[in-house]
Protein backbone atom coordinates (compact mmCIF):
# COMPACT_ATOMS: atom_id res chain seq x y z
CA UNK A 1 0.00 0.00 0.00
CA UNK A 2 2.72 2.42 1.05
CA UNK A 3 4.76 1.38 -1.95
CA UNK A 4 1.87 2.32 -4.20
CA UNK A 5 1.52 5.75 -2.60
CA UNK A 6 5.21 6.45 -3.20
CA UNK A 7 4.93 5.54 -6.87
CA UNK A 8 1.79 7.60 -7.33
CA UNK A 9 3.42 10.54 -5.55
CA UNK A 10 6.49 10.34 -7.77
CA UNK A 11 4.51 9.99 -10.99
CA UNK A 12 2.18 12.88 -10.07
CA UNK A 13 5.09 15.19 -9.27
CA UNK A 14 6.89 14.13 -12.45
CA UNK A 15 3.84 14.68 -14.62
CA UNK A 16 3.03 18.09 -13.11
CA UNK A 17 6.61 19.31 -13.40
CA UNK A 18 6.80 18.20 -17.02
CA UNK A 19 3.81 20.47 -17.71
CA UNK A 20 4.99 23.54 -15.77
CA UNK A 21 5.54 25.98 -18.60
CA UNK A 22 5.95 29.70 -18.04
CA UNK A 23 7.30 29.81 -14.51
CA UNK A 24 6.66 28.13 -11.19
CA UNK A 25 3.28 29.69 -10.44
CA UNK A 26 1.65 27.37 -12.96
CA UNK A 27 2.34 24.44 -10.63
CA UNK A 28 -0.25 25.81 -8.16
CA UNK A 29 -3.38 25.33 -10.32
CA UNK A 30 -1.93 22.04 -11.59
CA UNK A 31 -1.44 20.76 -8.04
CA UNK A 32 -4.89 22.01 -7.07
CA UNK A 33 -6.41 19.92 -9.84
CA UNK A 34 -4.32 16.82 -9.13
CA UNK A 35 -3.99 16.65 -5.35
CA UNK A 36 -7.15 18.45 -4.21
CA UNK A 37 -9.75 17.66 -6.90
CA UNK A 38 -8.54 14.29 -8.22
CA UNK A 39 -6.66 12.44 -5.48
CA UNK A 40 -8.21 14.24 -2.46
CA UNK A 41 -4.87 14.09 -0.65
CA UNK A 42 -4.99 17.76 0.27
CA UNK A 43 -7.79 20.07 1.36
CA UNK A 44 -8.60 23.30 -0.42
CA UNK A 45 -7.57 25.48 2.55
CA UNK A 46 -4.35 23.54 2.98
CA UNK A 47 -3.46 24.16 -0.66
CA UNK A 48 -3.77 27.89 0.01
CA UNK A 49 -1.40 27.55 2.97
CA UNK A 50 1.04 25.49 0.89
CA UNK A 51 0.97 28.20 -1.79
CA UNK A 52 1.72 30.89 0.79
CA UNK A 53 4.62 28.95 2.34
CA UNK A 54 6.09 27.92 -1.03
CA UNK A 55 5.91 31.49 -2.27
CA UNK A 56 7.49 32.98 0.86
CA UNK A 57 10.41 30.54 1.03
CA UNK A 58 13.70 30.70 -0.86
CA UNK A 59 14.02 28.66 -4.04
CA UNK A 60 11.76 27.70 -6.92
CA UNK A 61 8.03 27.82 -6.10
CA UNK A 62 7.39 24.52 -7.89
CA UNK A 63 10.09 22.73 -5.88
CA UNK A 64 8.92 24.25 -2.58
CA UNK A 65 5.27 23.40 -3.19
CA UNK A 66 6.14 19.81 -4.11
CA UNK A 67 8.21 19.44 -0.92
CA UNK A 68 5.18 20.52 1.14
CA UNK A 69 2.81 18.18 -0.69
CA UNK A 70 5.22 15.24 -0.43
CA UNK A 71 5.82 15.90 3.26
CA UNK A 72 2.11 15.98 3.97
CA UNK A 73 1.42 12.73 2.12
CA UNK A 74 4.39 10.65 3.28
CA UNK A 75 6.73 12.62 5.56
CA UNK A 76 10.39 13.34 4.76
CA UNK A 77 10.63 10.38 2.35
CA UNK A 78 7.54 11.70 0.57
CA UNK A 79 9.15 15.12 0.26
CA UNK A 80 12.33 13.62 -1.20
CA UNK A 81 10.26 11.61 -3.67
CA UNK A 82 8.31 14.65 -4.90
CA UNK A 83 11.50 16.74 -5.15
CA UNK A 84 13.05 14.05 -7.33
CA UNK A 85 9.88 13.87 -9.43
CA UNK A 86 9.84 17.65 -9.84
CA UNK A 87 13.51 18.03 -10.69
CA UNK A 88 13.89 15.14 -13.15
CA UNK A 89 11.77 16.47 -16.07
CA UNK A 90 13.68 19.77 -16.43
CA UNK A 91 16.97 17.92 -15.82
CA UNK A 92 16.26 15.41 -18.57
CA UNK A 93 14.71 17.87 -21.03
CA UNK A 94 17.43 20.51 -20.70
CA UNK A 95 20.15 17.84 -20.87
CA UNK A 96 18.77 16.69 -24.21
CA UNK A 97 17.98 20.17 -25.55
CA UNK A 98 21.38 21.56 -24.56
CA UNK A 99 23.03 19.53 -27.32
CA UNK A 100 21.05 21.26 -30.06
CA UNK A 101 19.68 24.30 -28.28
CA UNK A 102 20.31 26.77 -31.07
CA UNK A 103 18.32 24.57 -33.46
CA UNK A 104 15.58 24.18 -30.84
CA UNK A 105 15.47 27.92 -30.16
CA UNK A 106 15.21 28.80 -33.86
CA UNK A 107 12.76 26.07 -34.83
CA UNK A 108 9.63 27.61 -36.39
CA UNK A 109 7.17 24.97 -35.16
CA UNK A 110 8.55 25.08 -31.60
CA UNK A 111 8.20 28.86 -31.59
CA UNK A 112 4.60 28.72 -32.85
CA UNK A 113 3.71 26.21 -30.14
CA UNK A 114 5.45 28.32 -27.51
CA UNK A 115 3.64 31.49 -28.55
CA UNK A 116 0.32 29.65 -28.29
CA UNK A 117 1.24 28.05 -25.01
CA UNK A 118 2.28 31.38 -23.50
CA UNK A 119 -1.26 32.69 -24.13
CA UNK A 120 -2.65 29.50 -22.55
CA UNK A 121 -0.39 29.86 -19.49
CA UNK A 122 -1.45 33.50 -19.13
CA UNK A 123 -5.10 32.37 -19.11
CA UNK A 124 -4.35 29.70 -16.49
CA UNK A 125 -2.63 32.21 -14.20
CA UNK A 126 -5.38 34.83 -14.62
CA UNK A 127 -7.96 32.18 -13.78
CA UNK A 128 -6.15 31.14 -10.60
CA UNK A 129 -5.76 34.77 -9.50
CA UNK A 130 -9.49 35.37 -9.90
CA UNK A 131 -10.40 32.17 -8.06
CA UNK A 132 -8.01 32.92 -5.19
CA UNK A 133 -8.92 36.61 -5.11
CA UNK A 134 -12.61 35.76 -4.83
CA UNK A 135 -11.89 33.98 -1.55
CA UNK A 136 -10.40 37.20 -0.17
CA UNK A 137 -13.31 39.39 -1.27
CA UNK A 138 -15.95 36.95 -0.05
CA UNK A 139 -14.76 37.37 3.53
CA UNK A 140 -16.24 40.88 3.41
CA UNK A 141 -13.45 42.34 5.50
CA UNK A 142 -11.60 45.51 4.59
CA UNK A 143 -8.10 44.62 5.83
CA UNK A 144 -7.28 41.65 3.52
CA UNK A 145 -8.52 43.60 0.50
CA UNK A 146 -6.37 46.58 1.44
CA UNK A 147 -3.34 44.31 1.97
CA UNK A 148 -4.01 42.69 -1.42
CA UNK A 149 -4.01 45.98 -3.31
CA UNK A 150 -1.16 47.48 -1.28
CA UNK A 151 1.04 44.41 -1.92
CA UNK A 152 0.15 44.51 -5.60
CA UNK A 153 1.26 48.14 -5.89
CA UNK A 154 4.38 47.37 -3.83
CA UNK A 155 5.36 44.38 -6.00
CA UNK A 156 4.39 45.72 -9.39
CA UNK A 157 5.06 49.46 -9.32
CA UNK A 158 7.31 50.35 -6.39
CA UNK A 159 9.23 47.04 -6.72
CA UNK A 160 9.77 46.70 -2.99
CA UNK A 161 11.83 43.67 -1.92
CA UNK A 162 9.51 40.66 -1.66
CA UNK A 163 11.05 39.53 1.64
CA UNK A 164 10.03 42.84 3.20
CA UNK A 165 6.47 42.52 1.89
CA UNK A 166 6.22 38.97 3.27
CA UNK A 167 7.48 40.04 6.72
CA UNK A 168 5.13 43.03 6.92
CA UNK A 169 2.15 40.91 5.85
CA UNK A 170 3.01 38.21 8.39
CA UNK A 171 3.08 40.84 11.16
CA UNK A 172 -0.22 42.32 9.96
CA UNK A 173 -1.73 38.81 10.00
CA UNK A 174 -0.63 38.17 13.58
CA UNK A 175 -1.78 41.60 14.79
CA UNK A 176 -5.14 41.10 13.09
CA UNK A 177 -5.57 37.70 14.73
CA UNK A 178 -4.77 39.14 18.16
CA UNK A 179 -7.21 41.99 17.57
CA UNK A 180 -10.03 39.68 16.45
CA UNK A 181 -9.34 37.40 19.38
CA UNK A 182 -9.57 40.27 21.85
CA UNK A 183 -12.72 41.61 20.23
CA UNK A 184 -14.25 38.13 20.27
CA UNK A 185 -13.56 37.74 23.97
CA UNK A 186 -15.05 41.12 24.83
CA UNK A 187 -18.23 40.42 22.91
Amino acid sequence: MKHKTFIKLFLSAFQLSACTFGGGFVIIPLMQKKFVDELHWIEEQEMMDITAIAQSSPGAVAVNASILVGYHVAGVIGALITVLGTVLPPLIIISIVSFFYTAFRDNVIVNMAMAGMLAGVAAVICNVVITMGKGIFQKKRVLPVVVLFASFVAVRFIKINIILIILVCAVIGVADTLYLDKKGRQA
Binding site: G24, A62, L68, S95, M114, V121, I125, M132, I172
Partner: protein, 187 residues
Protein backbone atom coordinates in the same frame (compact mmCIF):
# COMPACT_ATOMS: atom_id res chain seq x y z
CA UNK B 1 37.33 21.75 -7.82
CA UNK B 2 34.68 22.48 -10.42
CA UNK B 3 31.96 20.33 -8.82
CA UNK B 4 32.24 22.16 -5.52
CA UNK B 5 32.16 25.53 -7.27
CA UNK B 6 29.02 24.53 -9.16
CA UNK B 7 27.39 23.26 -5.98
CA UNK B 8 28.23 26.43 -4.05
CA UNK B 9 27.18 28.83 -6.81
CA UNK B 10 23.79 27.23 -7.31
CA UNK B 11 23.34 26.80 -3.57
CA UNK B 12 23.53 30.60 -3.30
CA UNK B 13 21.11 31.02 -6.20
CA UNK B 14 18.66 28.65 -4.52
CA UNK B 15 19.05 30.38 -1.18
CA UNK B 16 18.65 33.97 -2.28
CA UNK B 17 15.94 33.71 -4.93
CA UNK B 18 12.56 34.36 -3.41
CA UNK B 19 9.35 35.00 -5.26
CA UNK B 20 9.55 33.07 -8.50
CA UNK B 21 11.87 32.46 -11.41
CA UNK B 22 12.17 35.91 -12.94
CA UNK B 23 13.50 37.27 -9.64
CA UNK B 24 16.30 34.69 -9.85
CA UNK B 25 17.53 35.79 -13.29
CA UNK B 26 19.92 38.59 -12.22
CA UNK B 27 21.25 36.33 -9.46
CA UNK B 28 21.96 33.52 -11.92
CA UNK B 29 23.58 35.96 -14.32
CA UNK B 30 25.91 37.31 -11.66
CA UNK B 31 27.01 33.80 -10.64
CA UNK B 32 27.48 32.17 -14.04
CA UNK B 33 28.62 35.15 -16.16
CA UNK B 34 30.30 37.61 -13.78
CA UNK B 35 31.64 35.61 -10.82
CA UNK B 36 32.52 32.52 -12.88
CA UNK B 37 33.37 32.52 -16.59
CA UNK B 38 30.97 29.66 -17.26
CA UNK B 39 28.73 31.32 -19.85
CA UNK B 40 29.16 34.23 -22.24
CA UNK B 41 26.41 36.89 -22.05
CA UNK B 42 25.03 35.54 -25.35
CA UNK B 43 24.89 32.01 -23.98
CA UNK B 44 23.15 33.35 -20.90
CA UNK B 45 20.51 35.08 -23.03
CA UNK B 46 20.08 31.80 -24.93
CA UNK B 47 19.55 29.73 -21.82
CA UNK B 48 16.98 32.20 -20.50
CA UNK B 49 15.07 31.81 -23.77
CA UNK B 50 15.37 28.01 -23.59
CA UNK B 51 14.33 28.03 -19.93
CA UNK B 52 11.15 29.87 -20.86
CA UNK B 53 10.46 27.44 -23.71
CA UNK B 54 10.87 24.27 -21.64
CA UNK B 55 8.94 23.13 -18.57
CA UNK B 56 10.35 23.47 -15.07
CA UNK B 57 11.63 26.25 -12.83
CA UNK B 58 14.05 28.68 -14.50
CA UNK B 59 16.67 28.18 -11.77
CA UNK B 60 16.65 24.38 -12.25
CA UNK B 61 16.73 24.73 -16.04
CA UNK B 62 19.74 27.04 -15.95
CA UNK B 63 21.47 24.87 -13.32
CA UNK B 64 21.18 21.88 -15.65
CA UNK B 65 22.33 23.86 -18.68
CA UNK B 66 25.33 25.46 -16.96
CA UNK B 67 26.26 22.16 -15.29
CA UNK B 68 26.34 20.38 -18.65
CA UNK B 69 28.36 23.11 -20.33
CA UNK B 70 30.93 23.16 -17.54
CA UNK B 71 31.18 19.55 -16.38
CA UNK B 72 28.83 17.30 -18.36
CA UNK B 73 25.91 15.32 -16.91
CA UNK B 74 27.48 14.96 -13.42
CA UNK B 75 27.87 18.75 -13.42
CA UNK B 76 24.20 19.14 -14.27
CA UNK B 77 23.16 16.86 -11.43
CA UNK B 78 25.44 18.62 -8.94
CA UNK B 79 24.33 22.13 -9.95
CA UNK B 80 20.67 21.08 -9.68
CA UNK B 81 21.31 19.52 -6.27
CA UNK B 82 22.93 22.74 -5.08
CA UNK B 83 19.98 24.71 -6.34
CA UNK B 84 17.36 22.69 -4.46
CA UNK B 85 19.37 22.05 -1.28
CA UNK B 86 18.32 25.30 0.51
CA UNK B 87 14.67 24.61 -0.41
CA UNK B 88 14.87 21.07 0.90
CA UNK B 89 16.25 22.14 4.28
CA UNK B 90 14.19 25.32 4.79
CA UNK B 91 10.87 24.20 3.34
CA UNK B 92 11.02 20.81 5.06
CA UNK B 93 11.57 22.60 8.36
CA UNK B 94 8.64 24.88 7.60
CA UNK B 95 6.53 21.88 6.58
CA UNK B 96 7.33 20.25 9.93
CA UNK B 97 6.38 23.42 11.82
CA UNK B 98 3.24 23.91 9.74
CA UNK B 99 1.91 20.38 10.25
CA UNK B 100 2.74 20.45 13.96
CA UNK B 101 1.30 23.85 14.73
CA UNK B 102 -1.18 24.70 12.02
CA UNK B 103 -3.99 24.49 14.56
CA UNK B 104 -2.46 27.42 16.44
CA UNK B 105 -4.11 30.79 16.02
CA UNK B 106 -0.77 32.55 15.50
CA UNK B 107 0.24 30.25 12.63
CA UNK B 108 -3.15 30.72 11.01
CA UNK B 109 -2.74 34.47 11.53
CA UNK B 110 0.62 34.53 9.70
CA UNK B 111 -0.78 32.48 6.81
CA UNK B 112 -3.93 34.62 6.59
CA UNK B 113 -1.70 37.70 6.45
CA UNK B 114 0.44 36.21 3.68
CA UNK B 115 -2.48 35.10 1.51
CA UNK B 116 -3.38 38.51 0.00
CA UNK B 117 0.32 39.23 -0.65
CA UNK B 118 0.77 35.88 -2.40
CA UNK B 119 -2.25 36.54 -4.61
CA UNK B 120 -0.82 39.98 -5.42
CA UNK B 121 2.51 38.42 -6.47
CA UNK B 122 0.82 35.83 -8.67
CA UNK B 123 -1.38 38.58 -10.17
CA UNK B 124 1.70 40.64 -11.00
CA UNK B 125 3.38 37.65 -12.64
CA UNK B 126 0.13 36.94 -14.51
CA UNK B 127 -0.01 40.46 -15.90
CA UNK B 128 3.60 40.19 -17.06
CA UNK B 129 2.72 36.92 -18.82
CA UNK B 130 -0.31 38.52 -20.51
CA UNK B 131 1.82 41.46 -21.72
CA UNK B 132 4.54 39.10 -22.96
CA UNK B 133 1.99 37.02 -24.77
CA UNK B 134 0.16 39.95 -26.37
CA UNK B 135 3.12 42.22 -27.15
CA UNK B 136 6.24 40.03 -26.95
CA UNK B 137 7.84 42.31 -24.36
CA UNK B 138 7.92 42.29 -20.59
CA UNK B 139 6.64 45.87 -20.25
CA UNK B 140 3.52 47.31 -21.81
CA UNK B 141 4.39 49.33 -24.95
CA UNK B 142 3.10 52.89 -25.36
CA UNK B 143 1.26 51.99 -28.54
CA UNK B 144 -1.27 49.31 -27.64
CA UNK B 145 -2.45 48.69 -31.22
CA UNK B 146 0.37 46.23 -31.97
CA UNK B 147 -1.43 43.47 -30.09
CA UNK B 148 -0.96 39.90 -31.27
CA UNK B 149 -4.50 38.88 -32.33
CA UNK B 150 -3.75 35.14 -32.35
CA UNK B 151 -2.48 35.26 -28.77
CA UNK B 152 -5.51 37.31 -27.76
CA UNK B 153 -7.89 34.75 -29.28
CA UNK B 154 -6.10 31.78 -27.66
CA UNK B 155 -6.02 33.60 -24.32
CA UNK B 156 -9.73 34.48 -24.48
CA UNK B 157 -10.81 30.95 -25.39
CA UNK B 158 -8.52 29.39 -22.78
CA UNK B 159 -9.79 31.74 -20.09
CA UNK B 160 -13.44 31.12 -21.02
CA UNK B 161 -13.01 27.34 -20.98
CA UNK B 162 -11.27 27.46 -17.59
CA UNK B 163 -13.90 29.66 -15.96
CA UNK B 164 -16.87 27.92 -17.51
CA UNK B 165 -15.98 24.24 -17.17
CA UNK B 166 -13.08 24.23 -14.70
CA UNK B 167 -11.07 21.95 -17.02
CA UNK B 168 -7.60 20.69 -16.17
CA UNK B 169 -5.12 23.55 -16.86
CA UNK B 170 -2.75 21.05 -18.51
CA UNK B 171 -5.28 20.50 -21.32
CA UNK B 172 -5.68 24.26 -21.78
CA UNK B 173 -1.90 24.73 -22.08
CA UNK B 174 -1.50 21.82 -24.49
CA UNK B 175 -4.51 22.96 -26.51
CA UNK B 176 -3.06 26.46 -26.64
CA UNK B 177 0.24 25.06 -27.96
CA UNK B 178 -1.54 23.09 -30.71
CA UNK B 179 -3.72 26.11 -31.53
CA UNK B 180 -0.55 28.22 -31.82
CA UNK B 181 0.97 25.86 -34.40
CA UNK B 182 -2.28 25.67 -36.40
CA UNK B 183 -3.16 29.38 -36.35
CA UNK B 184 0.36 30.65 -37.09
CA UNK B 185 0.71 28.14 -39.93
CA UNK B 186 -2.47 29.46 -41.56
CA UNK B 187 -1.59 33.14 -41.16
Amino acid sequence: MIYLELLWSFFQIGLFSIGGGYAAMPLIQSQVVDVHPWLTPTQFADIMTIAEMTPGPIAINSATFVGIQVAGIPGAIIATTGCILPSCVIVMTLAYIYYCFRGLKMVQGVLAGLRPAVIAMIASAGITLVIMSFYGERVLPVDLSGINIISLIIFAIGFFVLRKWNVNPIYVMMGAGVAGVLLYSIV
